[in-house]
């Protein structure tokens, strides 16, 4: 529907309105680059020759409700997000955060030693530090002159 302002159609105002309407359609988790379009937490992975580091955005979780299982090739997470139960007289105005139990298995870019895993949770970020086995660490080869 074309809006009329003082009898004149304002194309810039119309474009602005369309932009605002489209913005309303963008889900809250839109900034995730590659994660599936579900309530799964987004993960970033870094590595160097000694270790692999995973960071996941999981705000508002009691660390007791985070289960981490590590194998040589993958990390499996089970996270329980408590759902807010409304008391009498309360009502939802807006509900964008996900609740419930989620599970996710992330394949690692290289083999790790499951026994040497460190997990920390700070400011809603879960950080897993996994050590690469000595045998799998890259070795520099010295080239000898013939």
């Amino acid at each position: 529907m074309t809006r009329v302002f003082n009898g004149l159609w304002n194309p810039l105002a119309e474009l602005s309105r369309v932009q605002r309407d489209l913005n309303c359609l963008i889900p809250a988790g839109w900034r995730s680059l590659a994660a599936p379009a579900t309530s799964q937490p987004a993960a970033n992975i870094w590595q160097d020759e000694n270790q692999v580091t995973l960071t996941l955005e999981v705000p508002g979780i009691d660390p007791e409700n985070i289960d981490v299982t590590v194998t040589e090739e993958a990390v499996t997470l089970r996270i329980r997000r408590a759902e807010r139960e409304l008391a009498e007289g309360e009502s939802w105005v807006r509900r964008e955060r996900h609740a419930g139990e989620i599970g996710r298995t992330i394949t690692l870019p290289c083999e790790v030693d499951p026994e040497k895993t460190d997990a920390t949770y700070q400011h809603g970020i879960l950080t897993l530090t996994l050590q690469r086995p000595e045998a799998h660490k890259p070795h520099k080869v010295k080239v000898k002159a013939c």
Partner: protein, 128 residues
């Protein structure tokens, strides 16, 4: 409480910002005594969080320092690091003076209480 339109795009960043600005997911619950807003701001600590009320606008801003994983190489990235910002227009029945904000585990909770209803005021008549 209604949300003002705030596009989380670089065009809407203030000139001083060097990072992208994202719109945090929120839950808003109306309670008998007021309103509770819960916003997800993972990576933000107290020192980098700013909650303001100006006139009838509640603004939440959080700064997340750029990720520094000890010079490691990123091999798989599903989310970007950036700041958070979102604005809300608060109803006239809410009292801005009662605003309260707490941050725990990347979750910001802002509460506002309703204004106390003011009944008719009896005027005492003094004798001259």
């Amino acid at each position: 409480m209604s949300e003002q339109q705030l596009l989380s795009t670089p065009e809407n960043q203030s000139p001083s910002r060097t990072q992208r600005v994202f719109r945090p997911a929120v839950d808003i619950v109306e309670t008998p005594s007021g309103v509770s807003v819960v916003a997800e701001v993972p990576g933000v600590d107290e020192a980098n969080l700013d909650v303001t009320i100006e006139r009838n606008t509640l603004t939440i801003r959080g700064h997340v320092p750029a990720a520094d994983i000890g010079g490691m190489t990123p091999t798989h990235l599903e989310y970007e690091t950036g700041d958070y910002e979102r604005r809300f227009t608060i109803g006239e029945d809410l009292d801005p003076e009662t605003v309260d904000a707490t941050l725990k585990d990347g979750l910001l909770t802002v509460t506002l209480q309703r204004k106390q209803e003011r009944g008719p005021k009896k005027v005492e008549i003094k004798t001259a």
